[in-house]
Symmetry: C2
Subunit: 144 residues, 2 copies
DNA sequence: TTGTAAATGCAAATAATTTGCAATTAGGAG
DNA sequence: CTCCTAATTGCAAATTATTTGCATTTACAA
């Protein structure tokens, strides 16, 4: 389980200051561990801890956290969603379409694609693989 | 090879009128067959055919074409990209990061995920799999 | 304790996409 | 062919997520 202490340490190690705003953001992110959440929703939570916190500060910090590899970012419809990175090795996610809960899918099928990609004379550099569905809790509430 | 005639037919079959604007858009899309292209770039091409065509009309038509399953839509950074659907069966794409060229990857590894997803107690409903890289032409121009 | 670069808040700018509305038009009915 | 009407379009304005400029504040190393 990832700890707030570890997160703060990693931020400092990367040369960033530990402002109360930043700490509040980290606290909220860890409170939503394994859940994708939007900048706006992060704001709603952080202002409970640090009332004057501005959305600009949220965005600037999310960018930093992404840069130092502490955050996953994904764009579903038009708004970006963020989720703390808790594992170190390459993996993918299944994301609940209702609550944003995410679980690590510790498998990547990239090798299966390599021959097909070569056939098309492409050089493969990146890939985006995301699974979507309903988590244990949310599937209960689904209309039958 | 997909033909303009077929595209027009499908549009009519779905109850939409064949306006010159719509025809121009289809023509441009077919000219970029197998390439993802943005609304703005579609506009640049269409105004050569129909000079007064408005970006709003582009967006409205792209939405219609997507609705009737004639267009793939993907969102890379902040702008949506579109590509005519030319095959009927489920597949994925490799997309050139430079020119937008796309090739069909006629393979889906979804089954490989199903056990892992079940383990996490999720119901799997959707998935997004996209490969990115450089196409045959563009890889030549790459800095060494 | 102090100096300074980093960080923040606020307001304004961006940029892609959407919407409201009045004017135009495609194409079926007569 | 002519007429009618719902569909479509163009234009301007709204929306919305995100970014930027800038003056002010602050963390923290020395
Ligand atoms: Mn992860
Ligand atoms: Mn396709
Ligand atoms: Zn859920
Ligand atoms: Zn290319």
């Amino acid at each position: 389980m990832i700890s707030l202490k570890d997160l703060k340490k990693k931020v400092k190690e990367n040369g960033y200051k530990l402002t109360p705003q930043r700490k509040a953001i980290l606290k909220v992110l860890i409170g939503h561990n394994k859940h994708f959440i939007s900048a706006e929703d992060i704001l709603k939570e952080t202002i409970k801890i640090y009332p004057n916190l501005n959305i600009t500060t949220i965005y600037r910090n999310l960018e930093i956290l992404e840069d130092i590899n502490m955050l996953h970012k994904t764009k579903d419809n038009n708004t970006a969603l963020y989720c703390l990175i808790c594992e170190e090795s390459h993996h993918h996610h299944i994301i609940c379409k209702i609550c944003g809960k995410t679980e690590i899918i510790d498998f990547c099928p990239l090798k299966k694609f390599s021959d097909l990609v070569k056939e098309k004379n492409f050089i493969l550099t990146d890939h985006k693989i995301e699974l979507y569905g309903y988590c244990e809790d949310c599937k209960k509430d689904l209309n039958p």
